[in-house]
């Protein structure tokens, strides 16, 4: 009796999620499907593949894509090189660690436009020429916390007894780091990479502001295509971006699953 009652209440509780499900279908799923549809439509709403042709044969679009990937890879690499030691050192400090982590996250809460414009003003005051260098600086400045955070979570979660065991077995600091800590923090490295790479290649406005409009990245050119009413080509570019997003989230999910399996096996 009691069981069937709870079951009944469970049924009625489900109803609460229906408005949200409807809302999400209408305003999130349908718009994404529309991107897919528009990618195959020409201006007269006829089926066409010309949008793909336009994008994949146009030198300037491919140049922008290549440029974005370049900026993305370099930014991610610099963030990893700077962020890994920071996350490692942070996880070693005991009490002050929490405050320090907070200090690293804090600037993230200030709107990125404000931070970007502030760096731009400083560069201009220092008479630094705005270009690729300043764009890269701005990207690293903006996304470094996204690298440090997942790395710190993973590294500080590594059981201390592993490093102690390595020491007891005669490993020096160097070996302990490369043979124990680095391999155990791969999942943090992967999620850090995706959390920096994807936003970097799709950023809108940062590169424009920090290069005085000279350097145009993929996010900027998606926006430009839509503002010029070129919905077809814009949709194709959004699809390319979506592929990047899906691949990265697939990698992350896969990795997390494997990790869980490992944990349950233990």
């Amino acid at each position: 009796m009691a069981k069937s009652l709870t079951k009944k209440f469970k049924m009625t509780k489900r109803v609460f999620s229906y408005p949200y499900i409807l809302f999400m279908l209408l305003f999130v799923v349908v718009p994404l499907v529309m991107i897919l549809v528009y990618a195959f439509l020409d201006n007269e709403h006829q089926f066409t593949l010309s949008n793909f042709q336009t994008f994949f044969t146009s030198r300037s679009s491919l140049y922008v894509l290549g440029n974005s990937l370049f900026v993305g890879v370099i930014t991610t690499a610099i963030c990893l090189l700077i962020g890994y030691p920071a996350a490692y050192f942070l996880s070693k400090s005991k009490n002050s660690g929490k405050v320090m982590v907070l200090l690293f996250i804090l600037p993230m809460w200030v709107n990125f436009l404000i931070r970007t414009l502030a760096t731009k003003e400083i560069f201009m005051a220092m008479h630094v020429e705005l270009g690729m260098g300043t764009v890269l600086f701005g990207m690293v400045y903006n996304y470094l916390p996204f690298m440090i955070l997942p790395l710190h979570t993973v590294i500080s979660g590594i059981d201390k007894s592993y490093t102690e065991a390595a020491r007891d077995l005669g490993a020096d600091d160097f070996t302990t780091f490369f043979k124990v800590i680095l391999p155990m923090s791969v999942s943090g490295i992967l999620s850090g990479i995706t959390m920096v790479f994807i936003p970097t290649i799709s950023t809108f406005a940062i590169s424009q502001l920090l290069s005085n409009g000279k350097i145009f990245l993929f996010g900027d050119s998606i926006e430009l295509k839509f503002s010029q009413d070129m919905y077809g080509v814009g949709s194709v570019m959004s699809l390319v971006m979506l592929v990047f997003v899906l691949v990265s989230s697939f990698i992350m999910n896969r990795y997390n699953k494997n990790k869980n399996v490992g944990r349950t096996l233990w």
Partner: protein, 274 residues
Amino acid sequence: MVKKIFEKSYLFILLAILYAPIVFIIVYSFSGSSNFNFDNGFTFESYKQIVTSDKAEALGLAIGNTFLIAIVSSVIATIMGTCAAIGIHALGKKFRHAVETVNQFPIINSEIVMAVSFMIFFVTCRFAEGYVRLIIAHIAFTTPYVVLSVLPKLESMDPNVYEAALDLGATPAYAMVKVMIPMITPGIISGFAMAFTLSLDDFIITQINKGAGTGIDTLSTFIYSDARVQGLEPFWYAIFSIIIVVVLAAVLIVNLINSTRAKKAKTLSFKGGK
């Protein structure tokens, strides 16, 4: 020892670079100029210009719009997201997985793709330009965060408490309001705070969906349109400083409250264990 000093100085140098632009803006907001000099001495001129400059009216409107959109969208997002979480919690396994996957879309997707997908949708379905589009878009990208912050609270809730209320004669509605909602309130509050700040902070989705003809600007789109043309006028230094101080203070206070609460909970559970 040398290693310790090296590690600490590495972190401090990084922090110094991270905070330099912010500190510069605040310091030079008292210079009354935008050229990084103190030729005018220490002055509140920049702050006065917030209300006296010829852009003061547009600025006021933009701030008003920012808060209007943030409040309306985050209240709706919180109500819908909380209800959704309660419903999702009771869904069957397969359906629940599907809903949770859709819930992840706006979170993992790149903002620019979300923004243009909203735009295509609104244009195709001929939605009225302006506030309606912006508020719908903001609800759509903030509600998943509310769901994500309420769901874990439901998971960790003891179902027996709710059922005990039912056994004692409470109607399901009464039990929900009096028993379940109070137990998940921390999740609802943090979900609301999340939705509100995300909406306040948003630039890309607003910029692309505000429509050219409406003239609606939020603070971030106004900053973008104004600062892109020329450099920053002195009053922007003042505005930025105010925003920075308010935001940093708010985050610090929230963190302080959370950590003291965590400490309290720790000592309480310790006492309980004894």
